[in-house]
């Protein structure tokens, strides 16, 4: 598989390679969001973890001089801790309240990042550039692909473990889950912690291998985009399944890049909002659900 990735990266151009890297990064981010969503909690503030990961990576490597590869994996621990704290509160709340609470996290994180008190570390509203990533550029794509695959394996392992069964039960019926002996609150906190780590990892990767600059807009505020990409990719792709999320990321991420760089302007972003609304109303299973249905219908006709 690694060989195939290297071959592909040699054949396609630099620009395509960069897009392929963002696909890997946002696949990790979207999978992380889906982990929480599939436990029945719709988080509207995952950009907090994404941004914390990128800031932690930058601060650890620039100010504390930690080896960059280590910083890439140690930094997201901050995201995990934030995830545990958010899960501690969100685990007690129901549907809408989780949405409102998590939505409030992103401006709060932004306010902290630009505050005078933290400016020496965060660079305030301007942000800062961490040192160039120490890994050779030619292996960024295989490296990020490896991390994406590792994340997929983590999600797969969770889904097929005792914990995965518990999470699935909580998603279906939380009260019934508690009455068969599942510590619902604890599992919700843990899954938020894991999701926080993976989102933060995506944030750190985004800085080290794509943007090479850290800015407070990563908190998804005032423009909510960083907050919403994982939601768009997961929901439009097909929530619940890692395959659907992959499909959504592969199809939509290049379009996002196009919207951001080529077309430019917010009008392109409006179409993402409309697409999300249409998918929610028409095909709640997303693109992947549609594909599955299509093949099932086809096999039945035979």
């Amino acid at each position: 598989m690694t060989i195939a990735v290297i071959l592909v990266s040699m054949m396609i151009g630099k620009y395509a390679e960069m897009i392929a890297i963002t696909i890997m990064i946002f696949y990790i981010y979207s999978l992380a969001w889906s982990l929480v969503a599939n436990t029945g909690m719709i988080s509207l503030g995952h950009a907090l973890f994404f941004a914390l990961g990128s800031y932690a990576y930058g601060i650890f490597s620039l100010i504390y001089g930690i080896n960059m590869i280590s910083a890439l994996f140690i930094g997201p621990i901050i995201g995990a801790l934030a995830g545990l704290a958010v899960g501690f509160i969100a685990g007690r709340l129901r549907d809408w309240y989780i949405g409102m609470f998590t939505f409030a996290l992103t401006p709060a994180g932004y306010a902290l990042a630009v505050s005078d008190q933290l400016k020496p570390w965060t660079g305030g509203a301007v942000g800062f550039a961490p040192p160039a990533f120490s890994l050779s550029m030619s292996i960024w794509l295989p490296f990020s692909a490896l991390l994406a695959f590792a994340t997929y394996m983590i999600v797969f392992t969770i889904q097929n473990s005792r914990m995965g069964f518990a999470l699935s039960a909580i998603n279906d019926d939380e009260v019934a889950a508690a009455t068969i002996g599942i510590n619902t609150r604890l599992y919700k906190i843990i899954i938020f912690g894991i999701s926080g780590y993976l989102s933060a990892l995506a944030g750190a990767m985004f800085v080290s291998m794509y943007s090479r600059y850290i800015s407070p807009e990563f908190f998804g505020y005032p423009d909510v985009s960083y907050n919403l990409w994982p939601i768009f990719y997961s929901i439009i792709g097909g929530m619940g399944t890692p395959e659907g999320v992959l499909l959504g990321t592969i199809i939509l991420d290049p379009l996002t890049e196009l919207a951001r760089t080529v077309i430019g302007g917010p009008l392109a972003l409006v179409t993402f909002g409309v697409l999300l609304a249409v998918v929610i109303i028409k095909t709640p299973g997303g693109i992947y659900g549609y594909v599955i249905k299509y093949f099932e219908a086809k096999s039945q006709m035979r």
């Binding site: 019926d173 009455t179 002996g181 599942i182």
Partner: protein
């Protein structure tokens, strides 16, 4: 020693007193029936014993341990479980996994493989093995009730509350469920049945508790209850009159 000892439990919702100082004892291997009209507080009692709500006052002991303010999942580990009047299966899981997930998180912590093995045995015991790979959506009411029972059993439970397990069933379905219940009871599990149809319970229960308006009205052997003047007047009488 009693297996379960509920003493003077009070539960209020706003101004409404749902349980007004209820005391109930259940012995090991007993089959107890709790009866009463709708709104008598039977289901609230089960919810309080399971830990869905904490009581405002009163105490609950299970197997010698105080469970009054213990979270629900820890009570399950001690060996208390329940079924729901309206079955609450996990609709996105196959029948087998519905039972397996209960086994995993019951009295013993089991791995997925072990839990599935136990789940297969239990589905066999409640005569639901042929439906193991279906989703709960395609089960009949009787089968869903059996699934609820199977989940409770999978937890390695000592005491199980059956909330209206016979409601809405007639003839063969009713006999099927009752035979499964009696079979479980014979295997050594203590059972508390909550019913408002009394014919069922008078035949199989060893002890009957009558609840009216959040209070315990009477308690005793089925024969004593059916001849108790207060019960006849306030519950049987009214019920009979309304039929």
């Amino acid at each position: 020693m009693n297996l379960l000892n509920v003493s003077n439990v009070v539960k209020r919702f706003g101004g409404l007193v749902a349980l007004n100082g209820v005391s109930v004892q259940v012995d090991r291997h007993e089959l107890v029936g709790i009866i009463g009209p709708n709104g008598a507080g039977k289901t609230t009692l089960v919810n309080v014993i399971m830990g869905i709500y904490y009581p405002d006052s009163g105490r609950m002991m299970f197997n010698g341990r105080d469970i009054t303010r213990m979270p629900p999942h820890r009570r399950v580990k001690l060996g208390i479980s329940r079924t729901y009047q309206v079955p609450r299966p996990f609709s996105n899981m196959r029948v087998l996994d519905n039972v397996a997930v209960a086994a995993m998180h019951g009295a013993k912590e089991l791995s997925v493989g072990e839990a599935r093995g136990i789940a297969r045995d239990i589905l066999e015991r409640v005569r639901l093995a042929d439906k193991a790979n279906l989703y709960p959506l395609s089960l009949s009411v009787t089968e869903l009730r059996k699934l609820e029972l199977a989940r409770a059993l999978a937890q390695g439970t000592k005491l199980v509350f059956l909330d209206e397990a016979s409601a809405g069933l007639t003839g063969d379905e009713l006999r099927e469920i009752l035979s499964v219940i009696e079979k479980i009871h014979d295997e050594g599990i203590t059972i508390v049945m909550i019913e408002h149809v009394m014919k069922v319970i008078f035949n199989i229960a060893e002890k009957i508790v009558v609840m009216v308006n959040g209070e315990k009205l009477a308690e005793g052997k089925p024969t004593e209850i059916s001849s108790d003047a207060r019960v006849i007047e306030s519950y049987l009488g009214r019920r009979w009159a309304s039929v």
